[in-house]
Symmetry: C2
DNA sequence: AAATTGCAAGAGCAGTGCTCTCGTTGTGGG
DNA sequence: CCCACAACGAGAGCACTGCTCTTGCAATTT
């Protein structure tokens, strides 16, 4: 009974923190304000989070899992064999989550907190999105084994990539494609970072449409879609 | 005489601030510590910067210009007509600057400061890099007018892009190429953000080599280089 | 019923950004 | 030349922050 009360209290703290982050920003989040909102004294919070960064770490973990779950669900709604539709739906789910939760996006994809050593649990949660994208690519190759490599590279990927880790995320995908796969992943989040952080001001007027174009362009590059 | 002393003092403040940002982080930058380093009382700094954010804005402006100048110089060293070499040199210059000044990179490409309205002067400085990349693409099209558009799109770019602004940055480039051009720009910085903010842990082992591969991939996409 | 453990309260410390007032000192116009 | 003005640094102070420590109460365990 006491343990569940504790878990509930932790959820309350995180919820209030999320609300305050949404109102102000992450830098404007203060434990004292959370405690004031909760009608409790600030030192009480330290029973649940030893430090402000610990609270932020918990929020980061939740954010990664929330995003990951959103993308997994979006992907699951599409016919398994339609790789392009899955790719598009997943990418759009990422953007939808990011634009709906810009501050939490900033929390996980923005400037890291000074002591930027990510706990392993965080890395695990962070990979959920990558796993979805990897699975789409992987299964598309299983369906259509005829896709010829446009530019069969030298294959020295082991020198600069963690080939084993990547093979686990997208089994069956030729290592010559890893660069393009990572580039697509990077481009998706690079786009959102640029959009949300204001770098597109003066160039992109309708980020929604532009995003779809970029997603299509990347789909071509990944050969999930014909040019 | 007094005006120059004032300018000098401003430079000292910014230099100390840059050093402290490099040591700790931008969030760990405090005016009081700057003042202590300078052997002056903290309120004295307010004669030069009305607010902490004003100081940061000044540092952001300097960072954009420093990066822009680095890239301009790198591009200038390469034979004008060799578009691919210029592209690669410029991209490498961006990465070199970013890895040499990670905290200043975070300052300009990381999570924006709460009051995230960028002054116009900042936007101007920020576009210096884009102008270099645009010029490379633009002049490459002037040299080789035979490049056929791989996928002549519907041409409705006006609906989601600031076509006029983009045309000013890369004159002579067909608007059907704008998406790919913006994508390349986005990918470069997306890569650096992922690299510097730790998202590549567990996948990319040698970011240096991977970056070159990505730059080549983008060069192909921009048709600055044959596949 | 007694002992232990979890918890909130409150005071307090060192630090922050920022404001205000007060002498001092350099500078330009009459 | 000298004086009024403006710029400047010093210092005190306000409201805020994260975090620590002690105290007393309440719930759980033994």
């Amino acid at each position: 009974m006491r343990a569940s009360a504790r878990r509930a209290q932790i959820e309350v703290i995180k919820d209030v923190a999320r609300r305050l982050i949404a109102e102000k920003s992450v830098s404007g989040l203060s434990l004292r304000e959370i405690s004031r909102e909760m009608g409790v004294v600030s030192s009480a919070l330290y029973r649940y989070f030893a430090t402000r960064d610990d609270l932020l770490t918990a929020l980061i973990l939740d954010a990664y899992n929330d995003l990951g779950q959103s993308v997994e669900r979006a992907d699951a709604k599409v016919a398994r064999e339609d790789a392009y539709a899955r790719w598009r739906a997943s990418a759009r789910a990422i953007r939808r989550w990011a634009t709906n939760n810009p501050h939490e996006y900033a929390l996980i994809y923005g400037t890291p907190i000074p002591g930027y050593t990510a706990p392993t649990a965080t890395i695990d949660a962070a990979s959920r999105v990558a796993r979805v994208l990897g699975a789409i690519l992987s299964e598309s190759r299983r369906v259509d084994t005829s896709v010829a490599l446009a530019r069969p590279a030298a294959g020295g990927e082991r020198r600069f990539l963690d080939v084993d880790g990547l093979a686990a995320i997208m089994p069956g995908v030729a290592s010559e494609e890893y660069v393009r796969a990572l580039l697509a992943w990077t481009a998706i989040f690079g786009f959102l970072t640029f959009e949300l952080f204001g770098q597109y001001v003066g160039t992109v007027k309708n980020a929604n449409m532009m995003f779809d174009r970029v997603v299509d362009e990347l789909a071509v590059s990944l050969r999930l879609r014909a040019a």
